[in-house]
């Protein structure tokens, strides 16, 4: 019981804090943060655990979003089925391109993923315009049926759903981090030859990581689709290709809570600064350069050791106090 609590407490605390922010921050902002953090989680796992930087995450986001959108626009009304189909689309696409992409070195991997994002952008905008409605996009907010318990058509209910999904995603990644497979991923990043000395195939380790990460990204895409009730090719715009990478670095590469902290900080900056000045992208660009130069560990990567030190010191002080009482 205590062991289970120890395992869960960090995740529960993080998402409880996020839930509390609902009291004084706009719902749209919090929903955006939760979905964006799930979106970033896949990128963070690839970069932090496997050492692959991907500028093509919008491709997998779009695959998930369009998987959901096609179902809700053309075939059905149940948003849960829509999300499941979006996730399945991500699983299938990453399962198809993964065996080719993971053979590449990290720099080529980044570019080939970006190329995939461009291909999907033009597929959705031009080639499949009859189905995707091109730049106008697919609108299906009114098609989404009410569902018992959590009605995803209602932003308040969607928020609870998004929090629960994010909680499950974080628990899953924490489990991965703690598992032998997580150690294999880190080992392949540190030294791929040495992993093979032990009898592991780097290719298999990387392929599984690629599929897991991009299916997570597709999950974020399908959640965007249901939340907004609208999907257009803009979701896979190459202009936004760097967003998850930037948020990953901003939050702290390879840390469990980095994507959440990064998404919160990035969305917050965007929200606040865009209200104050017109060319907010330029300002955010400079700000991000400054943040990354100031501390390459990112926000959470810098805060985590400080918090651990603080907690550890408190525990030690408590331990000493107990000891004194016992004597």
């Amino acid at each position: 019981m205590i062991k289970a609590f120890r395992w869960w407490w960090g995740i529960l605390l993080a998402f409880s804090l996020l839930a509390v922010t609902r009291a004084f921050l706009p719902l749209a902002f919090i929903n955006e943060v939760v979905i964006f953090s799930i979106y970033t989680m896949g990128c963070s796992f690839l970069l932090g655990r496997v050492g692959f930087i991907s500028f093509g995450q919008p491709a997998y986001l779009a695959v998930g979003a369009y998987g959901t959108a096609f179902y809700l626009f053309y075939f059905g009304t149940n948003p849960y089925i829509g999300i499941l189909l979006g996730v399945l689309s991500g699983l299938i696409v990453s399962g198809i391109v993964g065996p080719l992409f993971v053979r590449l070195r990290s720099d080529y991997f980044a570019l080939v993923n970006l190329a995939l994002a461009v291909i999907i952008y033009y597929l959705m905008q031009k080639v499949l315009a009859d189905i995707t409605k091109g730049d106008n996009g697919l609108w299906f907010l009114t098609n989404i049926a009410s569902t018992p318990l959590l009605d995803l058509g209602k932003p308040n209910h969607f928020f609870i759903f998004a929090l629960l999904v994010a909680l499950a995603v974080w628990a899953f990644y924490k489990y991965l981090d703690d598992s032998i497979y997580g150690a294999c991923c880190l080992a392949t990043k540190i030294n791929e030859d040495k992993l093979e000395f032990l009898g592991y195939s780097n290719y298999s380790v990387r392929l599984l990581a690629f599929i897991i990460a991009n299916t997570t990204t597709a999950l974020a895409g399908s959640m965007y689709a249901v939340y907004l009730g609208f999907v257009s090719p803009e979701i896979t715009s190459p202009a936004r290709a760097a967003d998850p990478v930037v948020v990953t670095i901003l939050g702290g590469v390879g840390t469990l809570y980095g994507p959440l902290v990064g998404a919160f900080a990035y969305t917050g900056m965007k929200d606040v600064i865009s209200k104050l000045i017109g060319n907010w992208e330029l300002f955010i660009g400079f700000l991000l350069v400054f943040i990354m130069l100031a501390g390459e560990k990112g926000i959470w990567g810098t805060l985590q050791p400080l918090l651990e030190k603080l907690l550890f010191r408190k525990k030690r002080t408590a331990g000493t106090a107990d000891g004194k009482e016992a004597h």
């Binding site: 032998i180 150690a183 540190i190 030859d193 992993l195 093979e196 000395f197 032990l198 592991y200």
Partner: protein, 236 residues
């Protein structure tokens, strides 16, 4: 020219006519060697002689241009390095680079998961110090501790052949002495192929020594009387 190695049916590892090149540059020339179960075989030679290339070729990290490498009559040429490791032929590299961001425990767990051997008693018996270091990141270990971890990890799964590259390089004499005992003990279960420049150590533990010079085996010493540091040195 040295005659072909005295290979026979009992060999757990046999190499014959092995030629290896790095691009246009040929590094190994017609190498032949044989290793029997529970035998310690050493390869000695100066830096750049091709000893590490030989081990890497056996372990599947380099593809020979010609020749054969067999273990228990199974051809290893063309097999992936992780397949060869799974077959029980483990390579312990020279550079002592462990997975520095992982703890000692996690490093061992990686070895255990790959081999499905979760019994660490033997590892701890050989290297008791590892028990105290379980939760330390491997990046913070000393050179000797890293070597213990690397050899210890490779013992999981009870390998039939250990290919150990320069195990004592840069280590303190007390650790070298400890490793010498460990190698002798290990040879009760596994065959060892050790690339080493420490000739006194080599001569103390090996039952066969190959002298490698400029990519060729120039001597095969299998007679206990000939396995002496001064004899080995003559061929280097």
């Amino acid at each position: 020219m040295l005659p072909h190695s005295t290979a026979n049916n009992d060999d757990i590892l046999a190499v014959s006519g092995l030629n290896v090149s790095y691009g246009e540059s040929k590094v190994l020339f017609d190498i032949a060697l044989s290793v029997q179960p529970r035998q310690i075989v050493a390869c000695v030679g100066r830096n750049g002689a091709g000893k590490t290339t030989l081990l890497k070729s056996i372990a599947g990290f380099l593809k020979p241009t010609s020749g054969s490498i067999t273990s228990d009559h199974i051809d290893l040429v063309g097999r992936k390095s992780y397949d060869i490791a799974k077959m029980g032929i483990k390579y312990v590299p020279q550079d002592k680079k462990v997975f520095s961001d992982l703890t000692v425990r996690e490093n061992l767990e990686l070895g255990s998961y790959a081999t499905q051997d979760y019994n660490w008693d033997r590892v701890i018996d050989y290297f008791p110090k590892l028990k105290e270091l379980m939760d330390r990141k491997a990046g913070f270990l000393s050179g000797g501790e890293r070597q213990m971890l690397m050899i210890g990890r490779s013992l999981l799964g009870n390998p039939k052949v250990l290919l150990i590259d320069e195990p004592t390089e840069g280590l303190a004499p007390s650790i070298v002495a400890h490793l010498r005992n460990v190698f002798t003990e290990l040879s009760k279960n596994s065959a060892l192929v050790i690339v080493e420049q420490n000739l006194p150590l080599v001569c103390a533990i090996s039952s066969k020594v190959y002298a490698v010079k400029e990519g060729r085996i120039v001597a095969e010493l299998a007679d206990p009387d000939s396995i002496k540091a001064d004899v080995c040195e003559r061929y280097l």
